[in-house]
Symmetry: C2
Subunit: 288 residues, 2 copies
């Protein structure tokens, strides 16, 4: 049985076709040499599609994929996305998630990417079950011991080297916690294991600087742009946990979950605050 | 065509059998959630086999693979290694390389490894073409801009998150350079892109500390043990490039290439020195 074949409610395309395979020699598997995106489908259409595309193609360029390889990825994804969206609509999926994984494909033995110019493009769609009560009532967050290493050559990218997140997420299994915050090796709060972080203090909105580590989330970008457009600046800062403990409101976000207000962390308690509610309202209006 | 199937001189086994596949949902591909080993076959038998096994199994425990999963990996590898060694011998490969890739297998969506307890074990063998002239005459090394991030939770492990090495190796294509040195984000020399580093100064032997980053190479371990056994200590240090420039002898090593004396780096020149030759001789005698 091919476990990634079409199952009743999900579909995976590799380089545009179903029933294709990934070889063990693929550099995505060997080295995590690639990027991924996770896109929400809402009412049958992908949310923030251009943001996901931009992040992906800019990221591939940062990983030194050739222009020709990036063009091939674009063409492959354009075809696959249409098919996956049609599939979701044909199966009347009320909410769905699309995932893209792009690797450098197969090359010669060793780290040198020279000659590996036929990327692998894996695009899939599957049902998604939103947890609306978390958006409404908020969540408790764990604080992880596993730190994020600082490397400006990789920061911001949604790349396939995610062992730090795996180890951090393995630190708790209690359903009490919906997410875990991660600090970098110098003690700055950076993000959640799968989300970006914002907080509000004295009416001002803050989010961690991602120059040295962290993923530049598409919803983070949308929130910053939306606030800027209404004349509200977002402060990009490097702060320790105390800044969060001292905040008036805290929330985590990603393109799939939306905004989860944080109501508990390390003995601190917060209400779901007015700024958080206002931003949630803007996202609902924009249907992202 | 299945590109990873048996070709005339190579063989890949997945979970002990040929013609198996890796699914796109494998956490090795999704997150680099796993480890690998590269083992030299010399005169038909694997070199430093116990060192590779120890590093792998200890590494899996650090990645929180369950005892049961580690046991399954051991059993699978024991069977595969016998088959691969037989294959190499049947095909009279004069020199060969065996590679093991162990991933956490398929789990639920997301970083949480809970429930992913059926590891994927990919073991392969292929011909290897040693470059003896590099062992004898030495090599020039490049100094890479791409830094190694510091994270003690991952240091030492030969894990599948290797984008730093890929980006570093992409910095040069000239055949003038056989290897590139990498510094950490604080300017300490750590290792080559695919090798460990040693140097000699005033008769004393030095190698970088790997507490914060770098791979604990099996040949590095063997060299340290061998020198210790003959009463020579190896100094494990955190130093900048100047310590290398100021050295009397420099070499890089890994289990596949053996020892490559470094004869040129950034305008510095070295002869192949007596300590390097002595260590090479010990390795030859031990057939590693």
């Amino acid at each position: 049985m091919l476990p990634f074949m079409k199952t009743p409610l999900s579909l995976t395309l590799i380089n545009g076709a179903p029933n294709q395979i990934i070889t063990p020699a693929d550099r995505g598997l060997a080295y995590g040499d690639g990027l991924f995106e996770t896109i929400k489908l809402h009412n049958g259409s992908p949310c923030l599609l251009e943001f996901h595309q931009e992040r992906l193609y800019q990221g591939l360029a940062r990983l030194k994929f050739s222009d020709q390889a990036i063009k091939a990825v674009q063409e492959s994804l354009n075809v696959s996305v249409s098919q996956l969206v049609s599939f979701a609509n044909e199966h009347a999926l009320p909410a769905a998630v699309m995932k893209w994984v792009v690797t450098r494909g197969v090359g010669l033995r060793g780290y040198n990417p020279e000659g590996a110019d036929q990327p692998s493009v894996i695009a899939s769609v599957a049902p998604y079950h939103p947890m609306k009560e978390r958006n409404i009532n908020g969540v408790s967050v764990f604080v992880c011991d596993t730190p994020l290493a600082r490397n400006p050559f990789l920061s911001g990218l949604k790349h396939l080297n995610r062992l730090e997140q795996v180890l951090a997420r393995a630190e708790w299994q209690s359903t009490e916690y919906a997410e875990g915050l991660m600090l970098d090796t110098e003690g700055h709060v950076v993000e959640g294991t799968m989300s970006n972080l914002f907080w509000v203090k004295g009416g001002e909105v803050f989010t961690p600087d991602l120059t040295y580590c962290g993923i530049e989330g598409t919803l983070r970008r949308f929130i910053i742009q939306t606030l800027n457009a209404q004349g509200q600046s977002v402060h990009i800062v490097s702060e320790g946990l105390n800044a969060i403990k001292d905040a008036d409101e805290v929330f985590v976000c990603n393109s799939l979950i939306g905004i989860w207000p944080v109501t508990q962390m390390m003995g601190c308690h917060w209400d779901v605050g007015p700024t958080t509610l206002e931003i949630q309202k803007r996202l609902d209006e924009a249907e992202v």
